[in-house]
Amino acid sequence: MAYRTNLMLCTCTMCVSVGALKIKRKIEEEIKRHNLEDEIQIIPVGSSWLCTRGPTLIVQPDDVVYQFLKEDDIPHLVEEHLLKGRPVKSLMYIHPETLHPIEKLHQIPFYRQQRLITLRNRGMIDPDKIEECIARDGYKALAKVLKSMTPEEVIQEIKDSGLRGRGGAGFPTGRKWEVCRAVKGSPKYVVCNADEGDPGAFMDRSIIEADPHAVLEGMAIGAYAIGASEGYIYIRIEYPLAIKRLERAILEARDYGLLGENILGAGFSFEAHVFKGAGAFVCGEETSLLASIESKPPEPRTRPPYPAQSGLWEKPTNINNVETWANVAAIINQGAKWFSEIGTETSKGTKVFSLAGNINNAGLVEVPMGITLREMVYDIGGGIPNGKKFKAVQIGGPSGGVVPDSLLDLPIDYERLQEAGAIMGSGGMVVVDEDTCMVDFAKYFLIFTNDESCGKCTSCREGSAAMLEILTRITEGKGEEGDIEFLEELGEAVKEASQCGLGQTLSNPVLSALMHFRDEFEAHIKYKKCPAFVCKDLITYSIDPDKCTGCGLCLKQCPADAITGKLKKPHQIDDSNCIKCGVCRDSCKAKAVILKDRFDK
């Protein structure tokens, strides 16, 4: 039965957290009240339109998008738009400059530059209904491959497309498959890396929540190409909704004969299993991931042998990232030539990024390779909120680095980013504004890697600890002359002496911060000042008596009893009791709490 209108309601983890399921129930009630059940259906879709504006709803085929929905808005919305055909302006996206509501989804600047290949079904299908995926060409590529292509032809197609691994290192996918196919040994395995360890990234979660079949189909095609009949998806346990959708997708695909024995009667069999990670960053590294599936201590081991030669249970294993797998069916359907015409000379196709941090339009973005970081931050990301100044964009997480304003015109391309001291990474982009201290930010990553180091290599374990110790001293105002140079030396040494990617890249956040924000390190060391007013030991909190209205809120909230004052009179902060928790500043409506340098040097 065809419906006149489809309501695509985002039910990703983020939208659910702000009440998407309540909105769904309310819409259902209203549809029923107006007897529209036969004309209108709600499709719960996965993955993030404008993730900070949830719950969001897109009305199709009208292409009208609504944001920040509340239950109380629904009766009006259903009556006006769905009954009377008058879209509700007050619930639409407001253009930040013209301040006019934008009616159509594709007119919103956030979407205009996006090109969806990996996320081709994002927001278009209910991920829990395989029929909807099939209606949009899901498993068509698998059928094509099984009916009309040899494994060698599949590999050639992927090679010709120029697809490179999206998990960070950018290794050519077709070449990897070719090697694994050529290795003798059986059985062979394919593995999907859905560990998404970069803290601050959500591409893989979103891809799976929006379209789990895209990943499964890619894996089945890869398995056919290398000669495997079993596959594992290693997914982090922190993603309960993605796990649920993936497990359901596997069952549905099996029911349809698209996974399992003798798929589509073509004599090829493929089983996929979900393996839940248990919260360790190092498990994203391929050899460690495989050890983890085998319940061995997940310590990375030296390569060679590569997993293609000796992987899971010492059998030839091909491991790719979620996004890599999700590209495969699109390439088979539309051809290597089509894919290789998108992007730059060395980086083909599109890349999915998760934009987060201090940015207006945080969310999931898929763009052709080669667009500039400036376009990402300003055109798509909509710039920095609250009138703050842009400071840097962090790419590549704990293995990556910061890119300052002066380099924002860099195109997104594996080689070009590397030249600038950053890396493509898996696609997490965290934008930071002037309120972020770059020393503290570098320290943040070192705390992370020091904690996540498996401890096998001394250089990684002790090197990260030593760097962290210096950074901590600097943020405490105890930095000394020579610290910067020592950090640089240590950073290079750790890079060279460590065995796996974790150790080899853990100094990048520090080295790139030193490269682009050296003056901030110097301010901490020489003048004992934190220019961003973050480092607690270098700042004081006080109240501006001209702004304070004496409402008493800060006094009530202060956990250290450091604030005194009479109602309706300016309050004061006693610095000797103040623990600099920032609660007063968060709660002050008059913005009267100000930060100052502690030392006037």
Partner: protein, 148 residues
């Protein structure tokens, strides 16, 4: 008995230690020493290896946990929007440090390196319910929903 069932469920898998420990933790909320011993015995894996796995991964708890688990994200995106201040505030309100449990066994405070909800950080999850855009002044009202 429970543990036996869990082990049986995973019997067909080749290496099932992690899935078994995960299921036990879902069932019992932590991994008690007796459970770990039983797993070691039944799977014929040296006890020290089972402990090795159980202590390596963050997601496993070797201490009893409270009725409500409060997870505060310390991922990059949450960090640059004040995640550490949220941990400190929850810590103060409950008078426990991360990875500790209140004396009345009501709350356990845990931290995590990203929940994939980075766009709405700082993020706090209590018993599977997500809260985005948390500020230190909102912490109290969020926690009080779960106080008995």
């Amino acid at each position: 008995m429970q543990i036996d069932n869990i082990i049986q469920k995973h019997k067909t898998q080749k290496e099932a230690l992690i899935p078994i420990l995960q299921d036990i933790q879902v069932e019992l909320n932590w991994l008690p020493p007796e459970a770990i011993k039983e797993v070691a015995q039944k799977l014929a894996i040296p006890l020290i290896d089972v402990y090795g796995v159980a202590s390596f991964y963050r997601a496993f708890s070797l201490k009893p946990r409270g009725k409500h688990i409060i997870t505060v994200c310390l991922g990059t995106a949450c960090h640059v929007r004040g995640g550490a201040r949220i941990v400190a505030e929850v810590s103060r309100k409950l008078n426990i440090e991360p990875d500790e449990t209140t004396e009345d066994m009501q709350f356990t405070l845990e931290t995590v390196n990203c929940l994939g909800c980075c766009a709405i950080g700082p993020v706090v999850v209590i018993d599977g319910e997500y809260y985005g855009g948390v500020t230190s002044s909102k912490v109290n009202s969020i926690i009080s929903k779960y106080r008995k």
